[in-house]
């Protein structure tokens, strides 16, 4: 084992990034669109994983933060004429602040009670969008005609551009995930998740780290939302409803909580495969449901479970 472990992960990560990087050269624009959405969803899944897989908070309303990012970009761009680039920071900050405000009062709730509270937030969010609050969310049909990204006068409107923007976003997300895992913040989340009483007794504030997870997760989801809005040049409430939240929730658990390859694989299985099997039409969700049950029975910790023991090489010298 020893320090080869690090290299194995890196080789794998580089391999995946390489394949994803050259993917556009081989496919047409429809698949490129699916590929782009895959990248965006993977980012959302990772951000959900911070809250659910790492901090262990039963959070089933994540599509809300994804949607907040998307709507922030859409509203600022369409109604206030901000260039897309300028909306990126608010698209991260708005969900982040909202996450702190909403999660604050309910963070002490136990598992399932918190789960239904987060579903509640998501449903309220959708109703706010549908009721066209302040006349800026565009009601049930959402907001159309979102601009493209312009950098130094160059318009990035082609599907390939979208793809690589999403690709970079995923890269940044993976970078953050890696940094999180190797910091006291990421570790604290795991400790809370595995045994909250022991974690507290080690001086870890449950509230602080759960909120930290919420804020970070919401911020990343917001960035993904902004990308999503630009990709489709439109946002509408149904993309961010509870059903989507359940999808992100499931992606993490089917793939493997807190496992980077697991979550990536989960996104692939839950989002790309249904697109591949579109031909099966109506039966596909039936097969899909069966697959969810089977996966959990055969691999209760997900397809690719997380592996702990990510410690510096010098500590492994005595490991046999």
């Amino acid at each position: 084992m020893s320090n080869i472990n690090f290299n194995k992960n890196s080789v794998m990560a580089i391999g995946v990034l390489l394949v994803m990087g050259i993917f556009p050269l081989f496919v047409d624009s429809a698949w490129l669109a699916i590929g782009t959405t895959f990248l965006v969803f993977a980012v959302v899944a990772f951000s959900q994983d911070i809250i659910l897989g790492r901090a262990g908070v039963f959070h089933m309303g994540h599509a809300m933060f994804f949607g907040l990012g998307a709507y922030t970009t859409a509203v600022l761009n369409v109604h206030f004429g901000w260039p897309i680039l300028a909306t990126w920071a608010p698209a991260v900050l708005v969900p982040l602040v909202v996450a702190l405000l909403l999660a604050g009062p309910i963070i002490h709730l136990r598992g399932d009670y918190l789960l239904v509270a987060t579903i509640g937030f998501n449903i309220i969010f959708i109703q706010v969008l549908q009721n066209n609050i302040f006349g800026i969310t565009g009601g049930p049909n959402g907001i159309f005609g979102i601009d493209v990204v312009r950098v130094f006068g160059v318009e990035l409107f082609e599907q390939t551009h979208m793809y690589y923007m999403a690709f970079i976003l995923l890269g940044i997300t993976l970078f953050i995930m890696k940094n999180l895992d190797q910091s006291k913040f990421g570790r604290a989340m795991f400790y809370i998740n595995k045994d909250d009483v022991a974690a507290q007794s080690m001086g870890i504030s449950i509230r602080y780290y759960k909120l930290y997870a919420f804020a970070l997760g919401a911020g990343i989801a917001g960035a993904a939302g902004s990308m999503f809005a630009v990709q489709y040049s439109a946002v509408s409430p149904e993309a961010f409803d509870v059903i989507s939240s359940i999808m992100f929730f499931t992606i993490v658990l089917v793939g493997g909580s807190a496992s980077l390859p697991g979550v990536l694989l989960g996104t692939f299985v839950m989002f790309v495969l249904p697109e591949v099997f579109r031909e099966f039409e109506t039966a596909r969700y039936l097969v899909f449901g069966l697959a969810m049950i089977l996966t959990m029975i055969l691999r209760p910790r997900g397809i690719w479970p997380v592996k702990f023991g990510n410690i510096p090489a010098f500590l492994k010298k005595d490991v046999k």
């Binding site: 794998m12 993917f23 047409d28 698949w31 049930p140």
Partner: protein, 375 residues
């Protein structure tokens, strides 16, 4: 396990390459973007069937301008986000024109993509917003909400002389837009709207809002949403003993409305474009006969036929201009006058709006048949 991801990714890339391979050039592709599954499956399947019927008939006569036509269908489930994916998919398939979708929301979500890729689109969506952008690629084969609303407002106030009107809608852009226009039209005609409310689609339990309506003692309830909710609203209205006429907007016009409303369906008024059975034209009768013969069921509603008319108009324009160039066809269509459609004469304005529509008011009879009561 470690190598699985790259492998899977590579096989996906391979599959997609196959999917995207080039097609023979002597085939012209027509796309159908419609809700084949989901809530509006009924309508979506009818659109698909109708389009395929027309194309089959044309192909058996040698196609159009010597080229065979091929239909490519994409299921948008009536949802905006799926519609956006469908749009890219159909564009990628190289379709010349897209028929659909059924709902305004799904149509609008796909509109920009078709426009950017110079693909013609014709839809029965009635939302005013669809022609707002004035895309040269878009043609509405039905009518605007605004036209229907104007007719409705005048009819309710001037003909029926209602004094206390309640207007209900659901949350969809279409229904809400129509309701708002109707409220305005009623006011313009000098009438009074005592309450405007919204119901949640498919929520089934409308007794709370109807009880509230009951306390206002209305003489007419107008509903701009879909038949799935309209039928139930009518049934629950009767249960609560609210003595008011029920007037449904065009989307209530479906046989299921009568089933849902049960005994209380009788006496309901509906305002719509002529329904299939009432189309007086020979082409209509022939088409409906062919359709029933081929699929064994009648067309679900007039909407599917409107879409078929959209398709026929586009192909007619192709024949007239001897071209499949979408810009050429579009230019021709923008001045099209009285093309003999199944749903009546088809004429377009330069913003893609179908003009000169005529509305009917039907009263549901005790045996659930329709009787035209205007004119």
């Amino acid at each position: 396990m470690r190598n699985m991801l790259p492998k899977v990714a590579a096989s996906v890339a391979f599959c997609s390459a196959l999917l995207g391979s080039a097609y023979a050039a002597d085939v012209v592709k027509i796309g159908v973007q419609a809700p084949i599954t989901g809530e509006y499956a009924n309508e979506g399947q009818s659109i698909d069937n109708g389009v395929r019927l027309v194309i089959d008939q044309l192909n058996s006569k040698g196609g159009v301008l010597g080229k065979k036509l091929e239909v490519v269908t994409c299921d948008d489930e009536g949802a905006a986000q799926k519609a956006a994916i469908c749009a890219r998919k159909l564009v990628n398939e190289g379709v010349m024109a897209v028929i659909g979708s059924y709902t305004s929301g799904a149509t609008q979500a796909a509109q920009t993509t078709y426009y950017r890729n110079k693909v013609l689109q014709t839809s029965d969506g009635t939302s005013d917003a669809l022609t707002k952008e004035k895309y040269w690629t878009f043609f509405r084969n039905s009518f605007r909400n605004a036209d229907q609303a104007e007719f409705t407002g005048k009819y309710l106030v001037n003909e029926k002389k209602y004094k206390r009107i309640v207007v209900l809608s659901d949350y969809s852009d279409y229904s809400l837009g129509l309701a708002n226009s109707v409220v305005k039209a009623i006011k313009d005609a000098g009438g009074i709207v005592i309450y405007q409310g919204k119901v949640k689609e498919k929520s089934q339990n409308f007794s709370a809002i109807l009880t509230k309506v009951k306390s206002m003692n209305p003489d007419a309830i107008y509903f701009s949403g879909y038949y799935t909710d309209g039928g139930l609203l009518r049934a629950q209205q009767a249960q609560l003993g609210i003595n008011a006429d029920f007037i449904g907007g065009d989307s209530n016009d479906n046989p299921d409305f009568m089933k849902l409303a049960g005994a209380s369906a009788s006496g309901t008024l509906m305002i719509n474009f002529p329904t299939p059975d009432f189309l007086p034209y020979d082409t209509a009768k022939q088409f409906l006969k062919d359709y029933s013969a081929k699929y064994g069921v009648p067309v679900s509603s007039v909407w599917a036929i409107m879409n078929v008319d959209g398709l026929r108009a586009i192909l007619y324009a192709a024949e007239q201009t001897k071209s499949f160039d979408t810009k050429t066809i579009s230019t021709y269509l923008h001045t099209l006058k009285d093309f003999p459609g199944i749903t009546g004469p088809v004429s377009f304005r330069d913003d893609g709006e179908r003009i000169n529509t005529k509305f009917n008011v039907y009263e549901v009879q005790a045996d659930n048949s329709y009787k035209i009561i205007n004119n």
